[in-house]
């Protein structure tokens, strides 16, 4: 029987987390040890029946109390600083990260690569390359947990959340859902397959994607009639039905009808498609029909990729 005593470290970050809990574990043992040791000593030394000096026992000592409150607190604060710094680094993926769209639904994980490859419950990634997972849920809250990479992030309906990692070893590692989501919560999982860049490229080629994510998005854009208002090339129209241009929208500040300015990020694009009247662009009427009942999250991700591609004027 394999005595699985410690989870594999599949990334450099995982190693850092292990060091953190190891070091912190030593600190807490140091803080707790006096309690266990002294209690044991006192139970023996001062047990009833033993002749020992019990006089002049202190009823309190403010200096002692303050120091055994403050010193552990300050020591723990040291770890707090290190931990929080690590955490914020984990919130900011590097610019060269490969983005993969994730849609969680009861009870499976669907992955879409930028090149158009789609996977269910299995995710192929290259080793040594930062990977950014942009995630949303089709229904309830799920959570994408990669234990060997020591990362986890809840996946929400109606919102994008993200996590990123750089795997340092090739191999197969676990994907598990970590937010209770109903009947098959405990079987909602799979494997992340970390491959050498060469193997990954081979996998991409044979994964049967004839179109990239953005190309699929362009198809949807035409099929659903978005071009009718936004223009065939999404340049916006000056016709009776006026809609904002989408070229260069991604990442650009967008003035809204109420006077505020938001960034045209993934969330904004998602909401503009699903619930357009939530944030209306300045100077336009709130007449865009909502597509919340027409599209699923994977299709929204494809449209998002298409609009992102318009930012540079290219269509991959």
């Amino acid at each position: 029987m394999n005595l699985y005593l410690w989870p594999t470290q599949a990334s450099h970050y995982a190693g850092q987390v292990d060091w953190l809990i190891g070091g912190f574990g030593l600190l807490v043992i140091a803080l707790a040890a006096p309690v266990f040791i002294l209690s044991g000593i006192y139970l023996i030394r001062f047990r009833h029946g033993r002749q020992v000096d019990r006089g002049n026992a202190e009823r309190g000592n403010a200096w002692l109390e303050t120091s055994w409150a403050l010193i552990p607190f300050v020591l723990v604060l040291g770890f707090y600083v290190v931990s929080t710094k690590m955490f914020f680094e984990q919130q900011s993926p590097p610019d060269n990260a490969l983005t993969i769209n994730v849609v969680a639904k009861q009870w499976m994980w669907k992955f879409q690569h930028a090149g158009g490859q789609a996977e269910i419950n299995e995710l192929h990634v290259p080793v040594g390359q930062p990977i950014r997972l942009v995630m949303t849920s089709q229904d309830v809250i799920h959570s994408l947990y990669l234990p060997e990479l020591r990362i986890k992030q809840d996946v929400l309906p109606g919102r994008y959340t993200q996590e990123w990692f750089t795997a340092s070893d090739t191999g197969r590692f676990a994907i598990r859902c970590a937010e209770y989501c109903g009947t098959d919560h405990s079987v909602m999982g799979g494997q992340i397959v970390v491959q050498t860049p060469a193997d990954f490229a081979r996998w991409q080629a044979q994964a049967g994607a004839d179109k990239s994510l953005a190309q699929r998005g362009h198809e949807l854009f035409d099929r659903l009639g978005c071009a009718g208002c936004h223009g065939g090339n999404a340049q916006g129209q000056d016709a009776a039905v006026r809609a904002p241009p989408l070229i260069g929208l991604y990442g650009r500040p967008v003035p809204l009808a109420d006077g505020s300015i938001v960034t045209g990020d993934d969330q904004y694009i998602h909401d503009s498609i699903m619930l357009p009247n939530k944030q209306v662009a300045a100077g336009y009427k709130p007449i865009m029909p909502p597509f919340g009942n027409v599209l699923n999250e994977e299709q929204v991700a494809q449209l998002g990729a298409f609009i992102r591609s318009l930012g540079t004027g290219e269509d991959k």
Partner: protein
């Protein structure tokens, strides 16, 4: 409800018993504040996340009616305060008339509130029942919270009116208790119901 004048065995003096009744009521009122507090948090979060929609929905509220209701409740609170003074000075009959006046104002409040609800139904901004002109998303959410908050408040107005009515019957002898224990507690409850409305009104009706 406490027995007026009869000293319970756990209290050393009547005065201590009165103190305890009063203090207990205050603590109970703090729980009511926190119940509504949760609703206020929801409203403030909505306001922060969707300020334009929130303001638009708020501007469409019938704030004149709401304003009149505010005046109605404030007046009734003043009357209830006078009622407590009347009980303390031994004027049980005057207290009875003041109670009736306060209850009448409470009924007026509820009547105006339901008139507003009827108007909102006609305007088509009631979620589920008459949603024709509801703005999707934040607009609907605003109206949802409006109905929950004012509905819960109206329930509390009914509760307060019941307490006040109990002072007329069947606990009329509580009006003759010059230490005004029951009267004071009922008045405190009524004041709280008023205060909650004082916060609800600007939150719901006056957002711009």
């Amino acid at each position: 409800m406490t027995e007026v004048r009869r000293l319970q065995p756990q209290f050393p003096t009547l005065e201590r018993q009165r103190d305890a009744d009063h203090f207990g009521m205050l603590i109970f009122l703090s729980t009511e504040v926190l119940i509504f507090g949760g609703l206020f948090v929801a409203l403030f979060v909505l306001r922060a996340q969707h300020s334009a929609e929130y303001a638009k929905s708020s501007m469409e509220m019938h704030y004149w009616l709401g304003g009149i209701n505010t005046a109605v409740l404030l007046t009734s609170s003043a009357i209830v305060a006078l009622m407590v003074e009347a009980v303390k000075s031994g004027s049980a009959r005057l207290a009875k008339w003041l109670l009736l006046a306060a209850i009448a104002l409470g009924l007026a409040f509820v009547a105006i509130k339901f008139t507003e609800y009827a108007l909102e139904y006609r305007d088509g901004v009631v979620p589920l029942l008459s949603p024709a002109h509801l703005r999707p998303g934040a607009g609907t959410l605003f109206m949802d919270l409006y109905f929950v908050a004012t509905g819960l408040h109206a329930l509390h107005v009914f509760g307060g009116m019941t307490l006040l009515a109990c002072l007329i019957w069947p606990f009329g002898r509580a009006r003759r208790d010059t230490s005004a224990v029951f009267a004071g507690n009922a008045a405190l409850y009524w004041h709280l119901v008023d205060v909650i409305w004082i916060f609800l009104y600007p939150t719901l009706y006056l957002a711009r």
